[in-house]
């Protein structure tokens, strides 16, 4: 189901009327990424431009670049459900929990205003995010435990060393 919803959301931009963005998407699908990027940048509508840029960057494998596009669009208030869904998806791909959380919050706000598909997608992503966060929390606990073991172990060894070395020999000397 998550894949279906993701696919529906992912194909969002080219369901809209023809634009530079749509041209960019077509070029990117042919693998002509540099031209696609130029075409996307030419779109005068900020939301469509961001959608086109993100699509091209994502399909060219520049995941960090695609995330930057989505982030800038959200910050400048030109975000769309599609951009936020893609941001959450790509952030999950690169295991960026903070960005995923931010994008999901934005999606939640849209879902509150209606949009079952968005809510479904957000739910699936939230499950994946929770798994990543559990792993990171376990790592942090492991780190704390490691510091404690190393610190405690060092103190214990020091105490044993001091006890053995500084208290002098006992018992009778060997014959």
């Amino acid at each position: 189901m998550i894949q279906l919803v993701t696919a529906m959301l992912a194909c969002g931009p080219w369901l809209c009327p023809s634009s530079d963005r749509d041209g960019a998407i077509a070029l990117a699908r042919e693998g002509r990424f540099a031209e696609a990027l130029s075409a996307a940048e030419a779109d005068r509508d900020p939301a469509r431009r961001a959608e086109g840029l993100l699509y091209v960057r994502h399909h060219a494998g520049d995941l960090d670049g695609a995330l930057r596009v989505a982030q800038e669009a959200r910050r400048s208030g030109v975000g769309s459900a599609w951009l936020e869904e893609r941001e959450a998806f790509i952030a999950l791909t690169v295991r960026d929990a903070a960005r995923t959380r931010t994008a999901l919050s934005a999606l939640d706000a849209r879902a509150d205003r209606g949009g079952t598909d968005i809510a479904r997608a957000a739910e699936g992503y939230r499950t994946e995010l929770a798994a990543i966060e559990r792993t990171l929390a376990a790592r942090d606990r492991g780190n704390s435990l490691a510091y404690a073991v190393v610190g405690g172990g060092a103190l214990l060894l020091l105490a044993i060393f001091a006890g053995l070395a500084l208290t002098g020999d006992r018992g009778r000397p060997s014959p």
């Binding site: 540099a34 494998g61 520049d62 790592r139 492991g142 435990l145 073991v149 190393v150 060393f161 009778r172």
Partner: protein, 528 residues
């Protein structure tokens, strides 16, 4: 021969020396599935063993003044045997305390260093401490048995112990671990130590500790086995082997034409050394091997394309080139792979060319740097894809002298491509390596991000420069690599490195390992 005899005591000293090196050398291999075998892990293990040994020496010295040191010696040997024999079973639960499953390299960060230190402390300090007690106790027993001077007794014991260490060192690396495996190595060492200690306890009428020790040893022999990290969901294990260099396994995912096999080393943090798919040629998005095939498309000339691959692994670079070279161009290649075990598994499971083919020469058990002096011909392309310890480029393959030697092996206009695992084009490892490469070639070097991955390909050319990704010559007009080259041509995907006044890395001063730690730490700070 009885526990009182000097021969028996000498044998104990010899066995303790051998066991010390076995515990220490195999320790890194035992931790490798979780922490890798980086210099930091080696340092942590050696440091813990040395501290524990020194404490053991002190304790043994104190205990040697007792009326009957043989009893303590027996207890130490039995305790050591038990602690050593249970190590394989304890490794996984101990490592999992500090390093949970599912982390990526940049997420792991300090957990690798501190976790490996904590694990080493918990696992190896007890047996190393017990081993340390043995030499002074044996020396005392020898001195009393023969009425020798302290120097004479200690000298004999040190001689036997050091010879034992020598045997333990070579036998562990070349015999025990590769042929018997880690579990059997530790179980064997534990059984020998426990077996040597038992007569001392029986002679001292310490039956209760002897019985407990025998039970614990028997339990270890029956139950204590190393449990490697779990396979990922959907992975099927095809083969596994302990080689003299690393733990290696081959896993398969998917079905039919979509099947992929990975040759994984030390299994940690999702790393792999080689991949295979049923058809030769370019791999799916995200595999850096595809970037190795671009120079042949930039040259576009028919005839043999002579390639030297440093770090052949199981031959993935060859399979990609075989299927992705331009029409009329045929691959003639020499591959250097240090681990013969990887080559054998590659031939069995990943279609690595069999021995004897003149156009696919494999040289194994030799370091790539040393191999540069052994290959007689000139090449159209040199590929460097050599990582050690999963994440480290060996220093001898990251110096200006190395790159100058590699450049000298290239035909005029020949190419060198280096795979670098990095976190962006500002990564400190990439920066140092690219500028060093530029110094070695005395030409600008191009770094390009491989789409859908954390890898970066470095391109250099003998007597020239690679094409600029923003110019027309970068994207092949046809063939399977046009999309890849197009994606690599985007703004922000590449960076040029000029020839520096002084190379950052050379054979004399090479901080590549520190840079690699900095790279991971930076990536971690950048991530949540």
């Amino acid at each position: 021969m009885t526990p009182r005899s000097v021969t028996w005591l000498t044998l104990v000293a010899f066995a303790a020396g051998a066991a010390t090196m076995t515990v220490e050398l195999a320790a890194v291999r035992l931790l490798a599935p979780w922490y890798g075998t980086s210099s930091a892990v080696w340092t942590n293990v050696i440091g813990v063993v040395l501290v524990a040994l020194s404490l053991g020496y002190l304790f043994g010295a104190r205990a040697s003044a007792r009326p009957d040191p043989r009893r303590v010696l027996g207890l130490a040997l039995i305790a050591d045997g038990v602690a050593t024999a249970w190590l394989p079973a304890l490794a996984r639960p101990c490592a999992r305390l500090f390093l949970p499953e599912g982390l990526t390299l940049e997420e792991a960060g300090p957990a690798l260093r501190w976790g490996s230190l904590a694990s080493a402390l918990l696992l190896f300090a007890p047996p190393a401490f017990a081993l340390g007690t043995i030499a002074p106790l044996v020396a005392e027993c020898v001195q009393r048995a023969r009425a020798l001077t302290a120097g004479a007794a200690t000298g004999r014991v040190l001689c036997a112990g050091t010879l034992g260490s020598l045997v333990g060192t070579f036998a562990t690396t070349y015999l025990f671990v590769p042929h018997a495996g880690l579990s059997a190595t530790y179980l064997g060492a534990g059984a020998v130590l426990g077996g040597l200690g038992l007569p001392f306890l029986l002679a001292a009428r310490a039956r209760a500790p002897a019985a407990v020790g025998v039970c614990a040893l028997a339990g270890a022999l029956g139950l204590a086995r190393l449990v490697p990290p779990s396979l990922a969901v959907g992975e099927q294990l095809l083969a596994t082997r302990e080689t003299q260099y690393q733990s290696v396994r081959v896993v398969e995912v998917g079905e039919g034409a979509a099947r992929m096999r990975q040759l994984q080393v030390n299994e940690s943090l999702g790393s792999f050394q080689s991949v295979w798919q049923p058809a030769a040629g370019i791999l799916p998005d995200g595999y850096y091997y595809n970037a190795f095939a671009l120079p042949a498309w930039w040259d576009l000339r028919p005839g043999p394309w002579r390639v030297l691959v440093l770090g052949l692994g199981a031959g993935t670079a060859w399979r990609v080139l075989e299927g992705a070279l331009p029409e009329g161009t045929t691959l003639e290649s020499t591959g250097i792979e240090i681990d013969p075990g990887v080559v054998e598994l590659g031939r069995a499971w990943l279609d690595l060319a069999p021995a004897g083919r003149r156009d696919r020469i494999v040289a194994s058990d030799v370091d790539a740097r040393a191999a540069l002096h052994l290959v007689p011909q000139r090449f159209d392309q040199v590929v460097l894809d050599a990582y050690q310890n999963q994440m480290e480029i060996p220093p001898q393959l990251a110096s200006v002298e190395f790159f100058a030697e590699a450049a000298a092996l290239l035909a005029s206009g020949g190419w060198m491509v280096v795979n670098v695992g990095g976190f962006g084009l500002e990564d400190p490892v990439l920066d140092a390596l690219a500028r060093t490469m530029a110094a070695g070639f005395q030409q600008r070097v191009l770094a390009v991000r491989v789409p859908f991955s954390r890898n970066i390909a470095l391109y250099a050319r003998a007597g020239g420069e690679p094409p600029d990704p923003r110019d027309g010559g970068w994207i092949p007009t046809r063939g399977p690599l046009a999309n890849l080259a197009s994606a690599m041509s985007l703004e922000g995907a590449s960076r040029w490195f000029d020839v520096p006044a002084r190379a950052p890395l050379d054979d004399d001063r090479n901080p590549i390992e520190a840079l690699q730690r900095e790279s991971v730490d930076r990536a971690r700070v950048g991530s949540p």
